[in-house]
Subunit: 186 residues, 2 copies
Amino acid sequence: MSQAHHRKKHPEAVRQQLLEVAAKLSLEKGPGSVTLDAVSQAAGVSKGGLLHHFPNKLSLLDGLFTDLTDKLDQALAEKMRDDPEPKGRFTRAYIAVFFQPEGMADGEKWQVLTIALISEPHLRERWRQWVDRHLQENIGTDSALDAMLVRYAVDGLWLADLLGSPTMDAATRAAMMDRLLAISRL
Amino acid sequence: MSQAHHRKKHPEAVRQQLLEVAAKLSLEKGPGSVTLDAVSQAAGVSKGGLLHHFPNKLSLLDGLFTDLTDKLDQALAEKMRDDPEPKGRFTRAYIAVFFQPEGMADGEKWQVLTIALISEPHLRERWRQWVDRHLQENIGTDSALDAMLVRYAVDGLWLADLLGSPTMDAATRAAMMDRLLAISRL
DNA sequence: GACAAGAAACCGTCCAGACGGTATGTTTTT
DNA sequence: AAAAACATACCGTCTGGACGGTTTCTTGTC
């Protein structure tokens, strides 16, 4: 190790690596283990290297937030593109992204962020804005009470996953998804 | 200060005070500020005093968990008692407790715990058990898919409150509650 | 294409503060 | 007198981050 000095430099790759490692670390060793030391080490970079890309810890989490919301937006847009029915389109995309099997592979990465989201006012504000933006963008098609209700239910499901609550069996899960989709069309 | 030595002793009151202060502190200064020093000081007790009641930090959070779930159980039981219709009774109590105006006064105290719930395996397990217990106790009356859906929606609402997401206006909120109650009766 | 020169990408060390927890004393209650 | 309910002092560790160096890349100039 410590040869990163001499190997070829891929700053963008390293940056991405740091973000992924941060999320991964939180999952495997708990969110408390996401320290600058641990992240940098697990990413094969020195702490100085980490602090070069992200001047402080909040900046690292902020980067992770941007990364994950971007991917989420992308996934949502993709799902919405394939949906012919305007009414409740966003809500259905919201459902689909949550329920897609590999989707959770990304969804799990939100663990650290969720904590940071509660703790850090700055990230709370960014989250507020994210929600608000999608609310505005899909006003008219997804403002119905039932649509909101469905999205809140998805959030609740997501939280239950995060907290490792008694997971329901696959069949119930599928039925739940169908029901949510149905309501989104009412 | 530091006169606690000489004033009358009410250990149970001090214990309660410590729990309340911990929750309150989290709300006002953020969950990160819930340290043994801060809590003990804000409660007018020395750190030694705090550690007498709760041998370590996890124990403090565990106490808070017990305290809040007890109150929650009590509130739920009360609401259920006043509900003549068996079907969805628990789910309606769940809704009512969340939507009651002063109910949130207690609900906000969950902030620190939520973080601890994600981080600490022990508390996650306790939460799992709490959910599971109520699921078992109300099997038959509240196992319907729609009932689950409603409860997940309430959780989502609760999370949104916690994250300070764009709060909906009182009218929408009331309508949402009505809708949830309606679904619980389907 | 060569080459200087500055910028960018890293490394390694050190530190100051915070935090959880221990150990031990003192007062109050029983 | 013994135990419970506190207080005081202290310690070890961890963590975020500052700092100054070293290596690689890029850019402008000829």
